[in-house]
């Protein structure tokens, strides 16, 4: 398998401090003053030229947030965050908002080039890639460019930054924003509702199969800024969309905050496939720096026979707190969650999903693979529940953990709640280390230990990798190899 060989090569090439997206770019930024207050929220709202209702919505969330306490139930430890020591808005001076590719600051374009994200449509058409991907590039607090907009428009698909959508399609945004993750949902979601700066908006109209993969690439560049993205994806009756999300940040000694909210709405017979490759800066090998990633992602299978599928590859962030969930409201709807969470160094991951069965004949499937190395802590936390009237709910959950080294921890905390006799839930979890037999087999054939581990790990996560769109699958495989670099010996 070429991909496996590629992983081995990657692992062999890279040094101990392996984060390759850690570069910083000097770009003159337009920033709001540090700290959080109603003034800052008004400032953000004004910068984005938002309508009055949006500002009110934000302020209401902010007032509520002030009354909330930071949750402590997750298995992650970090010093208390000073929410007043963060910049909530930072935009490149040269490119304060979405624009055409020719007007984007060349420095920013260079950043994306370095990251390997294609922003020029013609480059993508030149045959470098086999399939085309429309990209919304979010740089700190603003979306700088969205590609293929015109072509998507012809198909009826709306794909733009959420700031633009608030201005151009206020009714749609107003109808759906906060309808899956209400402003009252949880501490970080409430904070996000108050201060979110950019993200993507997607609407695939009735009966349309989105002609290309959509993707958003998030980059945190500026020091001491928090990134608060907000993404909203709606698939109308019978529509289909596949959406990818990628993230990176520079290597810094301070921790930075990323608190995102993603809402998906699938109407009757619609399908949304949401894939994430999360590769925020994880901190150095001594646990210094890294992104705090507190994310609320939720999909609402609102229509009958709708389907939402989450696939995530989590390799970055110092702390991950993330539970992409599905509310299976429509009869016959289906939710899926495929996850690979790799932790190394001092990373702490507390991630999983929620499958909430409300409609009749709903089904869900959870495949979670956790890999812990170094002195990291890796927790799967998931909930499967049925409503009393949710007849014939089906769930299958499998969460496996692999431990590499004796200083790390792998934990599994599932919550299983059955309230209907016709429910059928199956849950399995295992934790083990890499089989010595398998390792011996590889070593004996002359494969070096680290490469052998990468090979075995790739086998372990294969079920999830297969769910990713092809371009991402290769990328994800490389990432996993890189993340585990230095975990042996």
């Amino acid at each position: 398998m070429a991909a496996v060989q590629e992983t081995i090569d990657q692992v062999a090439l890279i040094d101990v401090d392996q984060y390759k997206y850690g570069f910083e770019t000097k770009i003159e930024m337009d920033k709001a003053p540090k700290g959080l207050s109603e003034e800052i929220i008004r400032f953000i709202s004004a910068k984005k030229q938002e309508p009055e209702w949006m500002l009110e919505w934000r302020l209401e969330a902010y007032r509520r947030w002030l009354t909330l306490e930071e949750p402590t139930w997750a298995r992650v430890n970090y010093p208390k965050i000073d929410f007043n020591d963060i910049y909530y808005y930072a935009a490149p001076k040269s490119t304060p908002g979405p624009t055409s590719i020719d007007d984007v600051d060349p420095e920013i374009l260079k950043v994306y080039e370095k990251l390997g994200i294609p922003l020029r449509e013609q480059e993508m058409l030149a045959g470098v890639k086999t399939s085309r991907i429309a990209v919304d590039a979010v740089f700190d607090s603003v979306s700088v460019v969205t590609t293929f907009k015109e072509e998507l428009k012809k198909a009826g698909v709306i794909f733009m930054s959420i700031s633009e959508a608030i201005r151009e399609h206020p009714d749609l945004v107003r109808k759906y924003l906060g309808s899956v993750v209400p402003t009252t949902d949880n501490y970080y979601a409430t904070l996000n509702s108050a201060v979110f700066t950019d993200g993507s908006f997607v609407l695939v109209p009735k009966g349309v199969r989105c002609p290309m993969e959509l993707s958003t690439y998030f980059r945190i560049n500026e020091k001491n800024t928090g990134q608060f993205e907000r993404t909203l994806i709606i698939a109308e009756e019978g529509a289909y969309v596949s959406y990818l999300e990628g993230c990176t940040a520079p290597q810094r000694d301070e921790n930075q905050l990323h608190a995102a909210v993603v809402e998906l709405v699938a109407l009757d017979d619609a399908e949304i496939k949401y894939s994430t490759v999360q590769n925020w800066y994880p901190g150095d090998k001594n646990g210094k720096g890294g992104i705090y990633n507190f994310v609320t992602k939720r999909g609402d299978c609102r229509g009958k026979n709708s389907k939402i599928s989450w696939t995530q590859v989590e390799t970055g962030s110092a702390i991950t707190w993330k539970y992409p969930s599905c509310i299976l409201r429509g009869d016959g709807s289906r939710g899926e969650f495929y996850s690979i969470a790799v932790s190394n160094g001092h990373q702490q991951i507390d991630s999983g999903t929620k499958m909430i069965h409300l409609g009749k004949n709903t089904s869900s499937r959870i495949i979670s693979k956790g890999i812990a190395a170094g002195v990291s802590q890796n927790t799967y936390r998931g909930q499967v529940s049925t409503h009393r009237r949710a007849e014939n709910a089906r769930n299958f959950t499998q969460c496996d953990s692999l431990l590499i080294g004796d200083k790390c921890g792998a934990h599994t905390v599932p919550y299983i709640e059955a309230r209907n006799a016709s429910a059928q839930f199956e849950h399995e979890a295992t934790t083990s280390k890499i089989s010595e037999d398998q390792l011996f087999y590889c070593l004996q054939r002359g494969i070096p230990e680290e490469a052998a581990i990468a090979l075995i790990v790739n086998g372990f996560v294969k079920e999830v990798i297969q769910e990713l769109p092809m371009e991402f699958a290769v990328e994800a495989q490389k990432l996993i190899g890189i993340s585990l670099e230095g975990s042996v010996g």
């Binding site: 139930w73 009393r388 953990s401 431990l403 590499i404 080294g405 004796d406 200083k407 790390c408 921890g409 792998a410 934990h411 599994t412 905390v413 599932p414 919550y415 299983i416 709640e417 059955a418 309230r419 209907n420 006799a421 016709s422 429910a423 059928q424 839930f425 199956e426 849950h427 399995e428 979890a429 295992t430 934790t431 083990s432 280390k433």
Partner: protein
């Protein structure tokens, strides 16, 4: 949790706090014992009963579920019943009053009231952790129980039955039990209720198994439909010690059985087998934690639940593997037959692993009776209700069969059959 401090006390909380003031003069023990009780009660008053916000009580909101506490009833009358297994030695606790007569040879028994009076019990009266509501209530009010020592090398031919019979009111008892090296015994901890009047029973058993001890401990809980039963078993396994713990719940209105253990000796093995027969309005919670603290220890846990009527069932199981506890082998399974749309079951099987060379796993299932199994039996002319009963019986009987000793298996099977007869 500090959030609860400002909340006004519920009827049950008030009854407990006021009850303490009323009883304090007659509770055995002074000095250190008294101050340990005071500390526990002060914590109970300060924190209140746990709510679902307390993670380990997430599915059993004791504050909401324990609506009232029956008054202490000194006039209540209870008497011994025949042992479950003919020929067993019986140590009885009648309405919370322990009778030390009946101990077999090699088993040294004294009443826990004496330990309280002498003050040696003071060291026991502490909380396991900040969420230990059972330890807190029991420790505040404990009046009696048994302190049992099984002498090194003792092998009991017949089971030892600890028979707790309750007719009304409250009883709070403790059982520190030490099994000496290489002892072998079957102990049946049996909870019965002989009246329809509501009662509150709390027990704490602290089991220590020395090197090579092989013990089977069976908890059979058959309290009444109005009773609250809050029980805790703590155990510590020495080198090569083996404990098989059977928990059978077939009664009670509000039941929480906690099992907390640690393996402190290499080569030790623990087995938990649970059968929860839940019908009517019961809320029954089995909460289990096990710390594999040293290398080379093993454990398996199998819990089978049958739910009917409006019953609510909870299983929480947590296996922890300490950083150096390599070669741990731990497997946990929780299988539930949910037979009623009004019943509900919640499970939280947890793994917390800090060592890499381990084999740990857990599985949890919730299903109705398999239609193909039912069809198989129906096709052979067995009426539906009978076929269902057979399948349910087979589901739990598998666990009982593991006891191997027919003398113990038979009466337990009879109890299960009788329960299914009246509830299904």
């Amino acid at each position: 949790m500090n959030m609860q401090t400002a909340i006004t006390m519920t009827a049950a909380e008030t009854a407990l706090v006021d009850g303490y003031t009323a009883q304090i003069g007659e509770l055995p023990g002074e000095g250190a014992v008294l101050s340990a009780r005071d500390t526990l009660l002060a914590d109970l008053r300060k924190q209140g009963l746990p709510t679902r916000r307390v993670e380990s009580w997430h599915y059993t909101d004791l504050r909401a579920l324990l609506r009232s506490v029956p008054a202490v009833d000194p006039t209540a009358f209870a008497q011994r019943v025949d042992p479950l297994v003919a020929g067993s030695s019986v140590l009885s606790v009648l309405n919370g009053k322990a009778d030390t007569k009946g101990a077999p040879a090699g088993v040294n028994v004294r009443s826990y009231a004496e330990s309280l009076v002498e003050g040696v019990a003071a060291a026991d009266l502490v909380e396991r952790d900040a969420d230990d509501a059972i330890g807190r209530i029991n420790g505040s009010f404990v009046r009696d129980g048994f302190e049992i020592e099984v002498a090194e090398g003792t092998e009991l031919e017949q089971p030892l039955e600890l028979q707790l019979v309750q007719s009304a009111g409250q009883s709070h008892t403790r059982f520190p039990v030490t099994f000496g090296a290489n002892t072998k015994a079957v102990v049946i901890e049996r909870h019965l209720s002989v009246s329809a009047a509501p009662s509150l029973v709390t027990t704490v058993c602290d089991l220590i198994l020395d090197e090579g001890a092989e013990i089977t401990w069976i908890i059979l809980q058959q309290q009444g439909d109005a009773d609250s039963h809050l029980a805790q078993v703590n155990f510590d396994l020495g080198t090569n010690a083996k404990l098989r713990l059977f928990v059978i719940n077939a009664g009670g209105k509000l039941v929480r059985q906690e099992v907390h253990g640690v393996t402190t000796g290499e080569g030790s093995d623990f087995k938990l087998r649970g059968i929860n027969l839940l019908g009517g309005e019961t809320h029954t919670d089995v909460t289990f934690t096990l710390g594999h603290d040293v290398p080379n220890t093993t454990s398996t846990e199998i819990i089978r639940n049958v739910l009917l009527g409006r019953a609510k069932g909870v299983f929480q199981g947590q296996i922890r593997v300490a950083p150096d506890a390599q070669k741990t082998d731990a497997k946990m399974a929780c299988n539930t037959l949910l037979l009623s749309d009004d019943a509900d079951f919640s499970a939280k099987p947890e793994l917390e692993i800090f060592a890499d060379d381990v084999q740990c796993g857990h599985g949890a299932t919730v299903i109705d009776i398999d239609a193909t199994h039912l069809f198989y039996l129906r096709a052979r002319g067995i009426p539906e209700n009978k076929a269902r009963a057979m399948l349910v019986n087979a589901f739990v009987d598998e666990i009982v069969e593991e006891l191997e000793d027919e003398a113990v298996i038979e009466p337990l099977e009879a109890i299960i059959a009788a329960w299914l007869e009246t509830h299904a």
